[in-house]
């Protein structure tokens, strides 16, 4: 539909990617044999992906709204999917399929007995809910669903390292969640609503207001902690390498991006009134985070620790793009977001194969190009993509970002752009060093080389193929990012899509034989 028509399109579709993993995750709690569990988990991930893709297709025509219990937008809870939300939902569902595949390929009887499949499914449900929810409080609920599942997955297995790192992860995220509730309360106290569209309407009606700005900055801090921006992201590089390969790949590819999605949603759709302070903060944090990620990657010696720092770096680029606050920068950020999710997934899957093949976490063994030539090629490709060199999708996205940065004009934007360029080179050096010390050279005699079965290798190759596909279809990707950025830029689109036009009407009262006012107890 056209947003001009002013009708809210209600559809069942925005709920489908949330309910599928939730319902099938509950079934996974039943005492089933492993084959059934794997089948169910795979079916849940694939169905979620199909629904997310359908949703992405449907949101080309406008914002889709699911009303829970049939109550309209500002009164009831709604799920709302626009291009951004459905796109993120599809990316997360894609990562989910790879995660379940790798979990199925690496049997882990102890963790599976403690329901790792069901927990992963709940994690997917939480992630999907956070991308598709239409109000701030349900964003908090979604974060909690996602985080509770991730806490359990982070410490499942109870190795000493997991417990140590998991504790930091839990404490950090719990405090961020507490702040999020405070921000919800402040927003409700000031504006009297929690629905994103209604919040946007009311804060626009209120005009620039210090309390609203304070709420915005509070939310920025919360989402920066969830997204692992510089001073608040110290937990990330320790936590992700401690969890098993499959879940670690999903954590790395998607969980930080949930925080970034929330930042985009809040600062484009909801609190666009007074962008100066949040933008400055985002630019500064982004510039520092990029350098921190790049230097951190250089300082590490373990596969997944190095990659975790590149995740931190990629979050920095996204914050930088958001902080520039121009349509071009937003387009670049969205394209980079897609590239970053896919390439992080591919990198972690490659690291899983490499760690299994060499039997250790350190990047020390040499000469693996002899045993895994295809993997070496995939890694090189992904390294170029992460660093953003020409024949890759990373280049296209980073080029868009850097150009937007140069057009930004302010001194701060210039500094952040320089930081982006420098940290790209450092990241490239760090990753090429991994390549040369793992794949290049002659394999030392006596060091074991374990055979990695093809079901474990295939996801890494397929994810790398997706990275190639992103480079080949960079044009459509940028086009989609442009359309999404335009949609986010035209402020009324989301608001009208959720709230409809015209004055708010209280919903009709239910028609019973005699509806009586609720009494105050007997």
């Amino acid at each position: 539909m056209n947003p001009e028509v002013g009708e809210v399109i209600t559809s069942a579709l925005p709920l489908a990617p949330i309910l599928t993993p939730l319902g099938l995750g509950l079934l996974l709690l039943l005492p089933l044999r492993r084959g059934w569990r794997v089948g169910l988990a795979l079916a849940s991930a694939l169905l979620t992906l199909i629904f997310a893709l359908l949703l992405m297709n449907a949101t080309l025509g406008g914002v889709l709204v699911s009303e829970l219990g049939g109550w309209k937008a500002p009164f009831g809870i709604v799920m709302a999917a626009d291009r951004l939300g459905s796109f993120m939902s599809a990316l997360a569902a894609l990562c989910g399929v790879f995660t379940v595949w790798l979990m199925a390929a690496q049997p882990d009887p102890v963790r599976e007995r403690h329901h790792s499949f069901a927990l992963t499914s709940f994690l997917f449900a939480g992630v999907q809910l956070s991308f598709l929810t239409g109000d701030l409080f349900n964003l908090f609920v979604a974060f909690e669903v996602m985080l509770v599942a991730s806490y359990a997955l982070a410490v499942l297995g109870s190795t000493r390292e997991q417990l140590r790192e998991g504790f930091r992860y839990i404490v950090m995220n719990l405090s961020a969640s507490a702040l999020l509730v405070v921000a919800c309360g402040l927003a409700y106290g000031t504006l009297g609503t929690l629905n994103f569209a209604h919040l946007a309407q009311r804060s626009a009606a209120l005009g620039p207001n210090t309390t609203v700005t304070a709420v915005g900055v509070l939310l920025l801090i919360v989402f920066a902690a969830k997204g692992a921006l510089f001073p608040l992201g110290f937990w990330l590089p320790g936590t992700y390498p401690a969890v098993p390969h499959a879940t670690g790949a999903f954590f790395a590819a998607v969980l930080t991006k949930v925080g970034l999605y929330a930042l985009i949603r809040v600062f484009t759709t909801v609190f666009g009134q007074d962008p100066q302070l949040p933008d400055t903060l985002l630019l500064v944090l982004g510039a520092v985070t990029m350098l921190y990620g790049a230097l951190g990657a250089l300082s590490q010696r373990e596969w997944r620790r190095i990659l975790s720092f590149t995740v931190v770096g990629s979050v920095g680029y996204l914050a930088f793009g958001l902080g520039l606050d121009s349509p071009d920068a937003l387009r670049g950020s969205l394209a980079y977001l897609a590239v970053s999710v896919v390439v992080t997934l591919a990198m972690f899957l490659i690291a899983a194969v490499a760690e299994r093949a060499s039997g250790m976490r350190l990047v020390r063994a040499r000469g693996f190009i002899e045993f895994l030539p295809l993997l070496a090629a995939c890694f090189l490709l992904c390294a170029l993509t992460v660093a953003g060199l020409p024949p890759s999708a990373g280049f296209v996205a980073k080029y868009a970002l850097i150009r937007a940065g140069l057009e930004g004009g302010t001194v701060l934007a210039g500094i952040a752009t320089a930081s982006a360029l420098i940290s790209s080179f450092i990241t490239l050096y760090a990753l090429l060093r991994v390549w040369s010390s793992f794949f290049w050279g002659r394999h030392p005699q006596g060091e074991p080389v374990r055979r990695v079965r093809w079901p474990e290798r295939l996801p890494a190759y397929l994810a790398s193929a997706l990275v190639v596909a992103l480079a080949v279809f960079a044009g459509p990707l940028l086009g989609y990012a442009r359309a999404t950025a335009d949609e986010l830029g035209s402020n009324g689109y989301y608001i009208l899509g959720v709230m409809g036009e015209g004055p708010l009407n209280l919903p009709a009262r239910p028609k019973g034989d005699d509806v009586q006012e609720p009494e105050d107890g007997p």
Partner: protein
């Protein structure tokens, strides 16, 4: 008296000092009153559950009250009033709530849409039924399961390793 409690009492006779996890307050006043209080609190919890879909109350608060009643029973009598593992309630409650929401969704209406109607019986007069009650019942089960599991986990502290100062 549960065998567990008997064993604990035997240990107590030997060691003559309270063991960790002991809850033997053995107070006749508390025991007597707790029996009446348990029934009253449970009745009130059920009332809250019953009217919750349309008036103050609901599955969550009813579940919390039930947990309170069961903990009181446990403190007064030293054994659990339930013969089931409370953790088992959680998935069933969740499944019940989800199914209540899912049925209208799969029939092409809004997710969680509640059906309701009015029934008149000779005994009760007219009253309203709603499928939201089933949803509330699911929430109730989840809250009871989760609350009791938490409380029991905290009550049944059984230190397995000695630390400094234990001896």
């Amino acid at each position: 008296m549960s065998p567990r409690r008997a064993a604990k009492r035997a240990v107590k006779a030997v060691a003559d000092r309270p063991q960790p996890g002991d809850l033997l307050i053995n107070d006749p006043i508390l025991k007597t009153i707790s029996r009446a209080a348990f029934a009253l609190v449970m009745l009130f919890a059920l009332l809250l559950l019953w009217r919750g879909h349309n008036a103050p109350g609901g599955g969550f608060i009813a579940g919390l009250m039930t947990v309170g009643a069961l903990i009181l029973h446990r403190i007064a009598n030293g054994d659990s009033a339930l013969r089931l593992d409370p953790v088992k309630f959680i998935p069933w409650g969740l499944a019940l709530s989800l199914t209540t929401g899912l049925v209208p969704y799969l029939l092409g209406r809004s997710f969680l849409k509640s059906d309701y109607g009015y029934i008149t019986t000779a005994l009760t007069g007219e009253f309203e039924w709603a499928t939201a009650l089933l949803f509330d019942l699911g929430v109730y089960l989840v809250v009871v399961g989760a609350g009791l599991s938490l409380a029991y986990a905290l009550i049944e502290v059984e230190p397995t390793e000695l630390v400094e100062g234990d001896r």
